[in-house]
């Protein structure tokens, strides 16, 4: 494997020394491009008090290519499907090499705070969210308590 670009080392160091509140990201011992990530559910959202596990992988072409991020914890969210895949523009077409792991994770956290059912990934959840927002939020809260217990 090609050696680790200086940028990745720099980012990793910063994530450890100057962590984002509510987010942790640790590189794997064997593969420094693979990160174990936890995100706290934002206050005021149905995911409050939940702790969500994610995985993040930096492909070889990073930073030209966006990192791959996926929820490991089950979550009820219109932009996150059952497999944990996330629908977020900056992870796809709107990726810019100026973005970093830190900014990506902040965006994911923001996505939890403000779901966007109009650009859904999990269609059933999105439908539910549009028809019955309260019910959906209750269900999300329920799932959080069930699966994302701190």
């Amino acid at each position: 494997m090609a050696s680790l670009p200086k940028r990745i080392i720099k980012e990793t160091e910063r994530l450890v020394t100057d962590p984002v509140p509510g987010i942790t990201a640790e590189p794997h011992d064997d593969n420094l491009r693979y990160f174990k990530v936890t995100i706290e559910g934002p206050a005021g959202s149905p995911y409050e008090d939940g702790l969500f596990n994610l995985e993040l992988y930096l492909p070889d072409d990073y930073p030209m290519e966006a990192p791959k991020v996926r929820f490991l914890t089950k979550i009820y969210h219109p932009n996150i499907d059952r497999l944990g895949r996330i629908c977020l523009d900056i992870l796809k077409t709107n990726w810019s090499p100026a973005l970093q792991i830190r900014t990506v994770l902040l965006s994911v956290q923001a996505l939890l705070a403000s779901p966007n059912p109009n650009d859904p990934l999990a269609n059933d959840v999105a439908e539910d969210w549009i028809k019955n927002e309260q019910g959906a939020k209750a269900k999300a809260k329920e799932w959080t308590a069930l699966y994302a217990k701190k």
Partner: protein, 1171 residues
């Protein structure tokens, strides 16, 4: 004629026959004899009138007497014989009395006979006292059985001295032969049976009675041997005359012609009949039990013997043989030198011998032990040419053998064989190790280097200094490869059958040896003596030839013999011939001259300083003018340099001056330079440089004189076997340094595709003087000689950028057209240079479009053909010519000025804005030279943004500013340009020029810098103009703080070379050092082990050249894993070149026999390129 004819009539008729048959004006042998007789007896009767009855009895008597006498005294001259006959004519036992008298009055008799017969002096004067004493000697040798001088001497003597009969015959021929034969004649002590063949002869005269089985015949040459070779052979060496007419069979008893032998046998026999070294005996085997008529065939057995004379050849004569061989060797190649008649005769004698050996199917003994084992059983068969079946089978057997040999020629990996034989010597492994003491050598040698030192010291005859194992090396007990070993067959000749009491020579010698090329024979094993000192050290690259050589120099820094200390030293006569040839040259006994390519000059010097711990020894570099009088400096001064290092160029320079100033004879005494002294030792580093002996450099180097000579080269053969010749010539390796020998035994067989033969000879030439070890070889304990860290070579395939793609396609079309045209017209060769130029351009585009138009310094085929290259190539026209409306969204002048103004105001003053961070690679701050601004006023690293643009382009995505997502374009970027006063100004950034390879290289370097910031990296290219481009581009991409770039190519001066290399080797923490190295200038010799990363920017035709380059870093001293990246453009000519490289690796480039083959191969390659 009738059956009742008396002997008298027979005799008479014989004479007539004889006269009839001798059509030429030159008198025949018999005539001469008769003439002489007639003189003696005062008879004036001419042979034509031989019918007179008075003449006949006399004649009978003297013939009888002569015969009998000569059986005892084979060397007796005719005239002496006649003198004796006169004396004892009336005696009861004339022969016996004559013999007695001869022994008693030997000397006086000779004088007498000389005096008496002056008028009829037919024999030559060389029969002097010395000779007659040798005759006596020979008689004593054979006189063990007492001589019975009976009334029938003939019978007695015949059995006892039958072997002398041939000599008699031969002597007769010789004495009557008026050759200017001045060479010393010695008597025949013995003869040995060589082989027999049965031959069908044809009767040319009818016989009265059937010939008896077993009756003796003899071969007789009808024409006088005075017949000059030029009459027999025409200028092209073809026979003008039929040999069968010249060689006749005669009845021994009646001395009358009977028949003739077939032409093919006659051709073999004719040149050998009077050759004292070979004798024949003919016995009738079958004649059908009836009398012969003309045209009848009968079968004879031809027994062939070799006599002692053949084995007694003086070295002088063998040398003259070798000179004639030399000339004939020349003749083959030049057809210019005409040979003297005698040389022609000699040549055909050799040919005859060779043919005889073939005819007798005498086979070379290859396995001595096996033969000795089976010696009791071996029964050489008489070759029966009539037996068709056996003959066929033998022939077909031979053919099979040839087929096998022939199939060997198909094995194109002979070069590997050649090397492997040189290496496989078990003795090599068991060479003792010589460890130079710490007092003289600081460095520790590896095991194999110590062994090498032993070998080298031995080669120089310094046995006392070399460590010795139990067996002191025998002086190369190797048989001279030109000689072949044969076994004496059992005597199957008729002589031995006729009389079993003939003492058979005991088997004291089972074998004999013959050099069928020169006609030399020997009973002793011909040992190849190499008196030359030195050799070829051909260890594989990176095994430390330099260190080995230095250890030799330090172990034996001066010629100890010239100080009279060393007992092992040989006499001056055994010193190298060139030394004795120029005795007037002063001898620099304390100095070793080392000749190196320029790039290695300082490396040798520093290696010497590193390894030498004896303060009295020092090395000096000699380049032209720095020593005014080298002769005095080396021979007169108190402490001359132990090592004088110079370059091939300087030698060539000095030589050219010498040749120019002094003509025609070069007076070496008047000079004071390199050619004025004879060195103790001369070492040629990278000795293959002199492989072409036509170059001035080679000629000059060959003129250097020294006692010990060494050649160091990892690749002694570059293109053909003849490459070795210059090395052999330099080493004075006799006899191979004579071009004639080399041509005959190496070049010509090789050209005729007899690869095995040629390689065998080269092998045996080299075996004693050649040492080669490879990295993969194992020592006695089975450990590899060198334990190098692993080497990883990765081929990285890249894609063209837009511009490259456009230009490449254009050029490819052109090139393909010209090749197709050439192939169609069949004049591809004529278009060769055009095609090569086209190919070159394609290769250049693969590197960088800006390379177009520069020339390729490495391609020899093109170096003289620059007219083509100088034709300017308009890249822009190529680019735009195919430009079907792709929009260029370049800045307009206005837009550019506006953007510059905005950015310039935003970041003012720009030099102080030290806080630019590249959001892509997070570098902070970005070096000013590497900053690039987007239109939206954002700053990035040049490399990062370009990579981003290329990535987006590749993925067909929009290019947006990574920071603000404003649309950006590669054509609308700004960069900072350094002004002369050191400040920076904004300017338009042109990305067009950066080629894929440079981008890829920059990425690799960046990655490397990120992970390990203080690495040394070597970047190879064959285009020095490409190195310039790389220098610029990398300088722009990387900051000078973290990256230091060195450039090393042919244009660098000597002084700069050493300083560049020295600087590069020093590791500075946090600084990446990049050495841009020209494949040609730096491909050989350099030691760059401080670097462990290498990038090959472009492929070269020959893989070995690239291997050489890689070995600059992958060699002894390298401690880290070596990583090599080779950049290859995808779907381009470079990929084809890789294929060609593969091909070359498998078939071995060295197998090209000549220039033509090489060209043809390259045409194949060209076809391959455009498939």
């Amino acid at each position: 004629m009738t059956d009742s004819g008396t002997p008298k009539e027979d005799r008479k008729r014989f004479f007539k026959d004889e006269l009839e048959s001798s059509e030429s004006q030159i008198p025949s042998l018999a005539e001469r004899l008769d003439k002489s007789k007639s003189f003696l007896f005062g008879e004036t009767t001419e042979p034509e009138d031989s019918g007179s009855s008075l003449f006949v009895p006399n004649q009978m008597d003297i013939v009888e007497f002569e015969k009998g006498f000569k059986e005892i005294m084979p060397d007796i001259s005719d005239k002496m014989c006649k003198t004796l006959f006169e004396k004892f004519e009336g005696d009861a036992k004339p022969v016996a009395s004559a013999v007695d008298y001869y022994f008693d009055h030997n000397k006086s008799l000779i004088k007498e006979s000389k005096k008496d017969t002056e008028i009829i002096d037919l024999s030559d004067d060389s029969y002097d006292d010395q000779h007659s004493s040798s005759i006596i000697h020979s008689n004593h040798m054979n006189s063990d059985p007492p001589i019975h001088s009976d009334s029938h001497p003939k019978l007695t003597f015949q059995s006892l001295f039958s072997q002398k009969k041939d000599e008699l015959k031969k002597r007769k021929a010789e004495t009557t032969n008026e050759r200017i034969a001045k060479r010393k004649k010695s008597s025949i002590l013995w003869k040995k049976f060589l082989g027999s063949m049965q031959v069908t002869a044809m009767a040319t005269r009818p016989t009265i009675r059937p010939l008896k089985y077993g009756s003796e015949l003899k071969l007789h040459v009808t024409e006088s041997k005075n017949l000059s070779p030029s009459k027999i052979y025409d200028s092209k060496g073809k026979r003008k005359l039929s040999m069968a007419q010249l060689v006749k069979l005669r009845d021994r008893e009646q001395d009358r012609e009977i028949g003739r032998i077939p032409e093919d046998i006659a051709q073999i026999v004719y040149p050998l009949i009077d050759e004292s070294g070979v004798s024949f005996e003919v016995t009738l085997v079958y004649s059908g039990d009836k009398r012969l008529s003309i045209g009848d065939s009968f079968i004879i057995q031809l027994d062939c013997f070799l006599t002692s004379q053949l084995f007694e050849k003086e070295p002088v004569s063998s040398q003259s043989d070798s000179t004639s061989l030399k000339q004939s060797g020349w003749e083959i190649s030049t057809n210019a030198i005409s040979e003297t008649q005698e040389e022609v005769a000699n040549k055909y004698k050799r040919v005859g011998l060779l043919a005889l050996f073939n005819k007798l199917r005498i086979k070379e003994v290859t396995d001595e032990a096996k033969v000795l084992e089976s010696i009791d059983n071996s029964e050489p068969d008489i070759v029966d040419l009539e037996d068709d079946d056996t003959f066929e089978s033998i022939v077909s057997e031979n053919n099979n053998e040839q087929d096998i040999n022939h199939s060997d020629t198909m094995d194109l990996n002979q070069l590997q064989n050649f090397y492997s034989i040189a290496q496989s010597l078990e003795t090599l492994k068991n060479l003792p190790e010589t460890t130079p003491s710490k007092d003289i050598m600081k460095l520790n040698l590896r095991r194999y280097q110590k062994q090498g030192l032993t070998w080298m010291l031995r080669r120089e005859g310094e046995f006392s200094k070399a460590a010795s194992s139990e067996e002191i090396t025998p002086p190369d007990a190797m048989m001279n490869p030109l000689w072949k070993q044969f076994i004496w067959p059992n005597d199957m000749s008729w002589v031995s059958k006729r009389d079993s009491s003939v003492p058979k020579s005991s088997i004291e010698n089972i074998f004999y040896y013959a050099n069928l090329h020169t006609g030399e024979f020997s009973m002793e094993k011909p040992i190849l003596v190499t008196s030359m000192k030195g050799g070829i050290l051909s260890d594989e690259m990176g095994l430390g030839k330099t260190i080995s050589t230095l250890s030799l120099i330090l172990s034996a820094p001066r010629d100890s013999s010239s100080e009279g200390k060393n007992l092992f030293e040989k006499e001056p006569s055994e010193m190298s011939p060139s030394l004795t040839k120029n005795p007037q040259k002063p001898y620099a006994s304390k100095t070793t001259l080392i000749v190196v390519p320029m790039s290695l000059l300082h490396q040798w010097h520093s290696e010497f300083e590193k390894s030498c711990s004896d303060k009295n020894l020092h090395a000096e570099i000699y380049y032209g003018g720095n020593v005014s009088n080298l002769k005095a400096h080396l021979t007169k001064s108190k402490n001359p340099p132990t090592v004088l290092i110079t370059t091939y160029g300087i030698i060539q320079n000095e030589w050219t001056k010498l040749v120019k100033t002094s003509e025609p004879e070069i007076d070496l005494n008047s000079t004071t330079g390199l050619f004025s002294v004879s060195f103790y030792r001369i070492v040629l580093d990278e000795g293959h440089i002199i492989r072409n002996r036509q170059t001035i450099t080679s000629k000059a180097v060959l003129q250097l004189t020294g006692k010990c000579k060494w050649v160091l080269t990892g690749t002694p053969i570059i293109n053909r076997l003849d490459d070795m010749y210059s090395l052999v010539k330099f080493l004075n390796l006799e006899p191979w340094s004579q071009i004639g020998f080399w041509k005959q035994f190496v070049s010509i067989p090789f050209e005729n595709k007899h690869f095995k033969e040629a390689f065998d000879v080269v092998n045996s030439i080299l075996e004693p003087v050649f040492l080669r070890r490879t990295k993969s070889m194992k020592d006695v304990d089975g450990k590899p000689l060198v334990d190098l860290p692993p080497k990883e070579v990765v081929v990285e395939r890249l894609q063209f950028n837009e511009d490259q793609d456009t230009v490449y396609k254009q050029l490819l079309n052109r090139a393909e057209d010209s090749v197709k045209l050439g192939l169609a017209r069949g004049d591809l060769l004529k278009k060769y240079s055009t095609i090569l130029v086209n190919i070159l351009r394609l290769r250049q585009v693969c590197c960088d479009v800006r390379l177009l138009g520069s020339k390729d310094e490495n391609d020899e085929d093109l170096s003289n053909n620059n007219i083509m290259l100088n034709g300017q190539l308009d890249i822009n026209s190529l680019l735009t010519g195919n430009d079907n409306g792709t929009k260029t969204n370049d800045f307009t002048e206005e837009e550019l000025a506006k953007t510059i103004k905005i950015i310039g105001e935003k970041y003012y003053p720009i030099e102080d804005s030290s806080s630019f961070e590249c959001s892509i690679c997070t570098t902070e701050p970005i070096a000013l030279s590497a900053i690039i601004f987007t239109e939206c006023e954002h700053a990035f690293c040049k490399g990062c943004l370009i990579e981003y643009c290329d990535y987006q382009h590749m993925k067909n995505l929009d290019m947006k500013c990574p920071l603000c997502r404003h649309e950006i374009s590669k054509d609308r970027l700004l960069a900072l340009k350094k002004k002369e006063d050191g400040s920076y100004e904004l300017c338009h950034f042109n990305t067009k020029s950066r080629s894929s390879k440079i981008v890829a290289l920059a990425n690799h370097l960046q990655q490397l810098q990120d992970s390990s910031p203080s690495e040394q990296v070597v970047v190879f290219s064959q285009f020095s103009s490409y190195l310039d481009i790389l220098d610029n581009e990398l300088g722009e991409i990387f900051s000078s703080k973290s990256t230091k770039i060195y450039k090393f190519d042919g244009r660098l001066s000597l002084k700069d070379r050493s300083s560049v290399l020295k600087d590069f080797q020093i590791k500075i923490p946090g600084v990446q050092k990049i050495l841009l190295l020209s494949l040609k200038a730096g491909g050989v010799g350099l030691n760059l082990t401080s670097a462990s990363y290498a990038f090959m920017m472009d492929p070269w035709w020959s893989p070995s050249m690239e291997d050489q380059a890689i070995d600059r870093i992958h060699r002894i001293g390298q401690k880290k894993n070596v990583k090599v990246t080779r950049f290859i453009m995808e779907n381009s000519i470079e990929e084809k070149m890789l294929q060609i490289q593969e091909r070359k690796r498998t078939i071995g480039e060295a197998m090209d026999a000549d220039e033509d083959d090489r060209r043809k191969r390259r045409i194949d390659e060209i076809k391959m390129l455009f498939e």
